[in-house]
């Protein structure tokens, strides 16, 4: 066993990116903390201490089992699902969303793509609990998403913008990010365009600082205050609720435009997957 590990070591060192991807989420975060002076990244010492024991890590195992299990009316696994790098490829796919898919004719975020595969490959419908239940640790979607996301831990965000639709939707997302509306005249930029500012006691991430922003967009994450693993779509919905705006429809174009811009702003910085948040 030891011999095998020693033999593997030089290989891992040679493959710099792969070695980075094998780091634990807390190691990825620690490297970011070491690289920049950020009160956002360091605001919760307790979370940093708890990350190695994050409940989200259990969901990775559950998700892995679910992913490879024959399920649904068609009794097949998700192993043939194409997340953008070919059927069955899971390593590093999560950080390259949202992405345009020819077979669907639209730009999809990861969760939309997962649901698409559960429908087209496994035969689930919108009314099946496997798809219908979107929130919380117990949801299949949360488990599956946490598993696939964990295989992109430490990979740099790199959402594709080659297809004209990807570019158009990302650019619209940028406009939406700065678009003030509603009871309080808020936009996303009200809270996320300055460094080290707080809402009450919470330090806000700055979209102009990619080293901070990668943590902000690194979902799924165990949300300590909710005692549940949450998704990017859940975070967007929370922000829209606080902004007193209309909630984006889950999986629809508004949500995807926002997430396209989000992920683009974290470009080049390593994703922390799964993360832990307040």
């Amino acid at each position: 066993m030891l011999k095998k590990a020693l033999l593997a070591l030089p290989v891992a060192l040679a493959l710099g990116v792969a070695a980075n991807a094998q780091k634990a989420p807390e190691d990825v975060l620690q490297r970011l903390i070491d690289s920049i002076d950020s009160t956002y990244l360091t605001q919760s010492e307790m979370n940093l201490m708890m990350m190695p024991d994050s409940p989200a890590l259990w969901l990775i195992d559950d998700g892995q089992e679910l992913f490879h299990e024959a399920r649904g009316p068609n009794n097949v696994s998700l192993e043939t699902c194409d997340f953008g790098k070919g059927p069955g490829v899971l390593e590093g796919v999560f950080v390259e969303f949202p992405r345009y898919f020819e077979d669907a004719g639209r730009v999809m975020d990861f969760e939309s793509r997962l649901v698409h595969c559960m429908k087209t490959i496994q035969g689930f419908t919108d009314d099946d609990p496997a798809i219908k239940t979107k929130h919380g640790n117990a949801a299949d979607i949360t488990k599956l998403q946490t598993y696939v996301a964990s295989l992109s831990n430490g990979h740099a965000w790199n959402p594709p913008l080659d297809h004209p639709m990807e570019k158009a939707i990302r650019d619209a997302g940028e406009i939406i990010f700065y678009r003030r509306a509603g009871t309080m005249d808020f936009s996303c930029s009200t809270c996320h365009a300055a460094t080290g500012k707080r809402i009450r006691a919470s330090v806000l991430p700055d979209s102009n600082v990619p080293e901070e922003w990668t943590k902000a967009v690194s979902w799924p994450a165990f949300r300590v205050g909710h005692d549940n693993v949450r998704s990017a779509q859940h975070r967007v919905s929370e922000c829209y609720w606080q902004m007193r705006h209309a909630e984006p429809v889950w999986g629809d174009i508004g949500m995807i435009a926002i997430i396209s811009y989000w992920n683009d702003r974290a470009r080049g910085q390593p994703a922390i997957l799964p993360d832990m948040k307040r």
């Binding site: 619209a172 005249d185 809402i199």
Partner: protein, 227 residues
């Protein structure tokens, strides 16, 4: 409840140039996203695509659609990438904001600082989605002040806005000061055009009486803010 602000010509003209023509879309199936400008596509996504829950009922009456359609100030003050619009636009925003302010009959007076304390701390009100704020219950919408402003040391306020600790100590309670603070809470754009601060009076979030209570919290010598 939501009052329309009277608009200076400058803002109206600015908005007309930006949004002239629009994007008449007859058939959603035929929409070519790549043929639109980013601004057109964003407006389409928010108001036409069905991508947002615009039919949700809102506390002030009507639906979310009215909240998501920008008024002239919101259009003028939305600057992609951050920063402020040009000087002429800012002046038009400022003038329209000043014209939006209405005053209590009998003049501006300080209210009850204890009520103001609760109002300034409360972030309740007007939220709609997975949980709706029920204004008809015992709680009334709050001022949300502490979300962004630091006021006293016993509870942590935010830092998006200026620190208001000891606000009344150096300023006193002259008529000019009362008018200034009332104006800023009612519609801060009258002094700081395209500020991030919500228009608490002009948008009907706070009543004139509630504004007077929050003013007392800031200015009353007895208020803990000034101790």
């Amino acid at each position: 409840m939501f009052k329309k602000t009277s608009l200076a010509a400058g803002v109206a003209a600015f908005a007309a140039i930006l949004f002239a023509g629009g994007y008449a879309i007859a058939d959603a199936q035929k929409v070519d996203f790549t043929a639109m400008s980013a601004e057109e596509l964003a407006e389409y996504i928010i108001l036409e695509s069905g991508g947002f829950h615009l039919d949700a009922a809102v506390q002030e009456g009507g639906t979310m659609r009215a909240r998501m359609e920008q008024d002239d100030l919101q259009k003028a003050c939305s600057v992609v990438g951050g920063g402020k619009p040009d000087a002429a636009t800012l002046e038009a925003v400022r003038a329209a904001a000043a014209a939006s302010i209405t005053y209590p009959e009998g003049g501006i007076k300080l209210g009850d600082w204890q009520k103001g304390r609760e109002l300034s701390w409360s972030g309740f009100g007007y939220r709609v989605g997975h949980r709706n704020d029920d204004h008809s219950a015992s709680r009334q919408p709050g001022g949300n002040c502490a979300n962004c402003h630091q006021k006293v040391s016993d509870r942590d306020g935010g830092t998006l806005g200026p620190d208001l600790t000891g606000y009344g100590k150096m300023r006193g309670t002259s008529d000019a000061m009362l008018k200034y603070v009332y104006d800023v809470i009612y519609n801060a754009h009258a002094y700081f055009p395209c500020t991030q601060m919500p228009r608490m009076g002009a948008k009907g979030v706070l009543t004139q009486e509630q504004i007077a209570d929050i003013m007392a919290w800031l200015l009353d010598p007895e208020s803990p803010v000034n101790k």
